[in-house]
Symmetry: none
Subunit: 214 residues, 4 copies
DNA sequence: TATGAATGAGTCTTCATTCAT
DNA sequence: CATGAATGAAGACTCATTCAT
């Protein structure tokens, strides 16, 4: 239903008074419903039912189905960002080895995606998002690359030339590989442990290799 | 209708008369429509219209919307497989360096995904596929890992321990990174060229590094 | 829709909120529409329109077209049963003659079928009914035979041997003859009055004849 | 689909050259298909397939689906009429008793309806027939009443007053009771033999009873 | 503010009928 | 004459959204 009829005037947004509790319940319900049924088949009625509120109430807090998806994605981005910063803080304090640091990073992301493997893709690919959200997403990715670079700069064995670019690829790799692995829990060709080790090995090699080819 | 067609009956298959041309047009149209609107919003009517045939004709060749998606996915899998084998054949004959080989591989996959960046994910994630198709997909992935391993075994600089596992990660990395990069053409933090170089660097480092960490 | 509703899932039943009025309006409309167009050509949209509700509302109360037909048939069975019992009660109290009793029975059934002559057959013959409903129907017929037998036992002139079988034939005769007569109002070879008299004569002769042939 | 779009001009009727064989095959197939699926769900394609001809050929001989139904009904009427006359001729020659005569009549009709129990009702109730056909049907019924009267007049024990009316009811009774019994083969409350005996008993009593009530 | 019955545009799918070969 | 691919109107049903209470 890309373009269901817009019923009337641009809905009044009740922004400020959003009862935090209700909004939360709706978002949690929406995450579960989208995860289970996909975006298109995740009906607003089902979301409301699961959230334990009426459909009317849901529309009191979110002007449209799309708005729910956007809110969910923003929350997801914030979560990821938060997790990343926690990891960096942790590493700085604890003085782990590079290998350990990467291991923790990959494990963390794998965990995150394992909880709701489909959700991210659903929000990213199935939902027709407004441009603004894409910008936010892009910004978050760049920010993540810089954050990771900030940490890795501290490790002397890491090649420093073009570190931000390198970290961009690192972030992308971890994101997409962990997501991909989490998304197909039955199709395991290799075990979770092996998978993590291999990815860390790859990143380690990438980060510490002498020079770039060519 | 007293007895609407039973969903699960094996529909009488339109046999072999399937005018190859019509089937092709429908599939091409479907690819474009799914690419542009997603699976759920890619309506059969839109597909038929874009294919330049009536909706009735479309249903003469495909018993359901899902069947179109499955056909598309099968075609995609075959294409990828074909491309991979071509690449391997090429490499074996031409005696390229490992670096060059990887470069060509990454470039090829990036090209492939650039043509219809969303389609693969749409088919994989949005479409409720029958189990059989998932099996085929899984098999294809394993096959790809083995094929790549077969080629890389020829390079003496490649670490041979656990090569198939390594190649699994290589295949997954290339698949997901190129897809991800192709999917968001506007959000480029780094250029296409830089991206390819970085990925190749990473793979090269991974494949040739001395030992695994831990 | 990624996951169109599965046909066989037990739909969540709209519970007890069914505004009696709306349900009634839909059923009345459905009776008229089926009567006028038959089951297959009696579209749900037409029914909704005639009921003065939107198609969406109709589907809020009935999960499918078939469910409407089933509801209609159940109502019809209940009506017939009710009418039969009223007749029996009446006869027992009023001490009418056998002839008068039969007259009233035939007249009543003729009236009933005259209101919507086609409906019963449409529901019985055109609609693909679930097995359960057939059982109910069968049971109703047997019950009717027993009820009639219960009354006729009180008349001494009625032959008592094999009374239940006899009454089964009586019920079937009245049912099918009155329906047939009501169904073709224009094709009258004999008048309504004559028809009733003849049928009563036949039943009277049947019920009181000395012995069975052969 | 009461009123599927009439595509163009009133089809040219190829009346005269109808290959008898093809027409027959189509009608036989149509009878089976309607019997099995009902009128609405009995598609012309299925009929053609079953008849072993192409859909185009079918439309060469019948201008529309309805025309097939009409032809089928006409054939059915002719069959019934033929059977009735055979029976009369037989009875006149063989000098059977009234009881035997009725027995044979009821048995014959029961047999006829048992072959395709639903067909008659489908044609009569589900199909939107042109007025002309109804007239033919009505005429056939009157004719049957007269034919039966002609035979029964020969039996001295039969009450002669209002014989044609009486025979009309007899014909209607036999028609509707045998059809009803044949239509529900599983719901048997009484056996086939008992059923026939009871019906004959009823008719016999009716035909020979002294006077009519009133 | 919360509710949930009502709405109706839009979806997938079928099938009578046509017409170029 | 026969064929059967193509047509497209119409049907059952869904679901985002509104609004009276």
């Amino acid at each position: 239903m890309t373009a269901r009829k817009q019923r009337l005037n641009p809905r009044k947004q009740p922004v400020q008074h959003r009862s935090k509790a209700t909004v939360d319940m709706v978002l949690v319900a929406a995450a579960q419903v989208f995860e289970a049924h996909g975006y298109a088949a995740g009906t607003t009625n089902r979301i409301a039912e699961r959230a334990g509120v009426s459909i009317g109430t849901l529309y009191q807090y979110f002007p449209s189905k799309e708005a729910i998806a956007v809110a969910l994605l923003e929350r997801h981005i914030a979560d990821t960002d938060h997790r990343l910063h926690e990891w960096v803080g942790h590493m700085v304090v604890e003085q782990h080895s590079l290998s350990e640091a990467l291991h923790e990073y990959v494990t963390g992301m794998l965990e995150m995606h394992s909880r709701q493997p489909r959700l991210q893709h659903i929000l990213l690919e199935e939902t027709p998002l407004p441009e603004r959200v894409h910008q936010v997403l892009l910004e978050a990715e760049r920010h993540a690359a810089k954050t990771v670079a900030g940490l890795l700069r501290l490790y002397p064995e890491v090649r420093q030339t073009g570190l931000v670019h390198t970290c961009f690829v690192v972030v992308q790799s971890v994101e997409s590989l962990t997501h991909r692995f989490a998304a197909h829990p039955n199709d395991r060709f290799i075990s979770r442990t092996t998978f993590v080790i291999e990815v860390v090995t790859m990143l380690l090699a990438y980060l510490t290799c002498e020079a770039r080819q060519e």
